[in-house]
Assembly symmetry: C2
Homo-oligomer: 426 residues x 2
């Protein structure tokens, strides 16, 4: 990876430069609106829309709990190249290396990473487009489809053991072997998230959200009653590259508040917990269905995420809430978004702390206008098989856990899986 | 319904008029391209891409069977209002009634239909937007989600028995009751597909495909090597309103050939069979997973579909081929399209007769260019539960039927469900 001392500072201007460098290589994915999702998000009980008998009116209860007024703008990075935002960071990291060392040098050396996920495919794709060799270390136990997806673009896929030290040792061995042990030779490591080049690349998502939101305002036939800028942007946080980049872009726009969204299962909410204790949490072991968000926040990313001027707060959601958001995206919007990519919408729909905060801010503002919320769909890499597994077991699961669930659920949500609670207003 | 004698003739000009009448009420859904799907469709064995080890190169085999060269343009009616193209016909039928009788008369009388599917929701939505009462007769055994989806917009949902005569009797009874038995009073029947107003409304899909394809050509940075018009459009055919409308639009453009796509399960390919025997097939009883295409072609629609100058041919596909197409749309394109909506893509990818015809035509043309194919995604109304059911059973099913399947499969496809045959080239 480029020596961080050669990288641009983490500023909006640097994100704009990253965008200029990569925009001919990545898709400008659409920013999507949905009246139905606005209605659901602005109702007092969004979960009621997942029952077999959803609210038939506008979903407003007879004066029960107050609901935020929300107008959602979805950034569809599920339609990005390789199916996720990771293409942005990989193209930017590589283009910075080429700027520093020249294309022939990088084509001679190649790049290397260890990853079984979207970063591996993204780096392999970027390398292929620049005619640069790529070496991807993957755990031997990776699924065949992930291996072949990476092999599709990579020069070479090398298998390793599955612990991170085994993977890192394998990477080091290949770097030594290909470089003959000499400095400045052999493939260059491009890590998945914890590096300024990656953060700035992912931050281009934020720049596009803002530009596309402004286009949207201009295209409103009846004008727009809101502000000229988004009120809120919510992005998922795993290693923190995406949230860090987006927060960097919006850091000189205090009128737009940036939030992180995490799964809470088995302590996956390390950013939320780290912020509470004032210290980054260094390791996490979770099998949340949001498999892109299992990593703890990286060191560099933590400097952005823990800066209250950049990231307002991080909120977390349950596995069930992620699945409910995913079903709404799938059934109502007709888009395939992977579980990790649905976490921001799950926060918007189901996190009572976040929703109460909006209700309270809107009460103070007193204008009655809906807030414009950017919601990042970070990726769409899932399979029919995974979906069938995730949602096929629901009936049995729910029947079994119905009582337990309803005891655990907050009073305001009050929904067990697909069954709406009795107290939900029509 | 408007007396057919008051309707415009089935011509491209009438489709243009229908478009002017409805375009402020329906979405101009996007026309989508996908490099990945082009690669898959242009490979000799598209099914190989569904295996766990898809082709790592461009998918071209070492000179095995020749493949067509295809550039696909998907019309995303899954993103249409109420999730399907049916909104177009319903809005057009209603707006024609209003033109004929005046809005106050229609608001007094209301509209009625019997349907448990997308047409019911579409008509109820259109009626609501014009302030017209709507009465929807549904079988009492309909699923709760379909009932509530219709109740969301309808003035009244009335339950009936589930046979068509029971449903028709109920409709007649309501018409008599609300109209006091007097001519020119009571709600007006709007049938789902077999009427000129419906055909012309659905035909606006074809007009948009053509316009958006022309926009796409203009936006090609490196120009376009094809013709100035689409070579082929493939649309699903159930009752025939959509295919009939699209074929009507393209009827004065012989350079664009229009094909119908049907499921073949349990004789659902009534249009294909009817064309072969030179006579419309009047009844069909099938439980194909393409549940929107279970109906036989309507009488009026048959006049269009059986006209070789309008519809070149109709091809059919197996349940397994529909599921394979659906998986590719879901996993590679990240869109949710219902089984019926995936039937045209299934024909393009898997129907050997259609593919051989293209190969032969391209050989005669001798230019080496890819053909531009419009492929209609007609709707996206499915649920996670349905998907889980459809794809969750695959493993068991496939293991059991592997031998049987491979015996039935054509040599050139040679794929059993998700497992690629040994003879597939890398």
């Amino acid at each position: 990876m480029a020596d961080p001392s050669t990288c641009l500072p983490l500023t909006p201007d640097s994100v704009a430069k990253a965008h200029a460098a990569i925009k001919s290589h990545v898709h400008r994915t659409p920013l999507i609106t949905s009246k139905t999702l606005n209605e659901i998000a602005s109702s007092p009980n969004p979960a009621a829309y997942l029952s077999d008998t959803p609210p038939s009116t506008n979903g407003h209860s007879n004066g029960a709990s107050p609901a935020p007024r929300l107008s959602l703008h979805f950034k569809a990075e599920n339609l990005q190249r390789i199916g996720a935002f990771k293409a942005r960071g990989a193209f930017h990291a590589l283009s910075h290396l080429i700027t520093l060392h020249g294309l022939p040098a990088i084509q001679k050396r190649g790049v290397i990473t260890h990853s079984s996920g979207n970063h591996a495919q993204a780096l392999a794709l970027a390398a292929k487009e620049f005619g640069v060799p790529s070496y991807i270390v993957m755990p031997g136990i990776s699924t065949a489809s992930k291996i072949s997806g990476t092999q599709r673009h990579a020069t070479e896929v090398i298998f390793s053991g599955s612990t991170s030290s085994e993977r890192e040792e394998k990477v080091a061995a290949i770097m030594r072997e290909k470089g003959g042990g000499r400095d400045g030779e052999g493939p260059i490591l491009v890590p998945p998230y914890d590096h300024p080049d990656i953060i700035l690349g992912q931050g281009t998502t934020g720049k596009e959200i803002e530009e596309q939101y402004e286009e949207w305002i201009r295209n409103q036939p009846e004008g727009h009653s809101g502000k000229a800028s988004l009120d809120v942007v919510v992005a998922p946080i795993g290693g923190g590259g995406l949230l860090g980049g987006i927060a960097t872009w919006f850091s000189d726009k205090p009128e737009t508040r940036v939030f992180g969204a995490e799964p809470e299962f088995e302590g996956a909410n390390d950013a939320e917990r780290g912020l509470a204790q004032g210290k980054r949490i260094e390791s996490v072991k979770t099998l949340t269905i949001a498999d892109g968000l299992r990593t703890p926040v990286g060191v560099t990313n933590w400097t952005v995420v823990s800066n209250k001027d950049k990231v307002e707060a991080v909120f977390s959601v349950t596995e069930q809430q992620i699945k409910m958001a995913m079903r709404l995206v799938f059934e109502r919007m007709k888009y395939v978004v992977e579980p990790s990519g649905c976490v921001p919408l799950a926060v918007v729909l189901f996190n009572e702390k976040w929703r109460k905060w909006v209700v309270e801010e809107q009460r103070k503002e007193g204008t009655g206008r809906a807030w414009d919320i950017g919601v990042v769909f970070s990726g769409g890499n899932t399979t029919m098989k995974a979906i069938a597994k995730l949602f096929g077991e629901d009936d049995a699961e729910e029947a079994a856990s119905k009582t337990a669930e309803s005891e655990r659920a907050t009073g305001e949500i009050g929904v067990n899986g697909e069954k709406v609670a009795e107290n939900v207003a029509g």
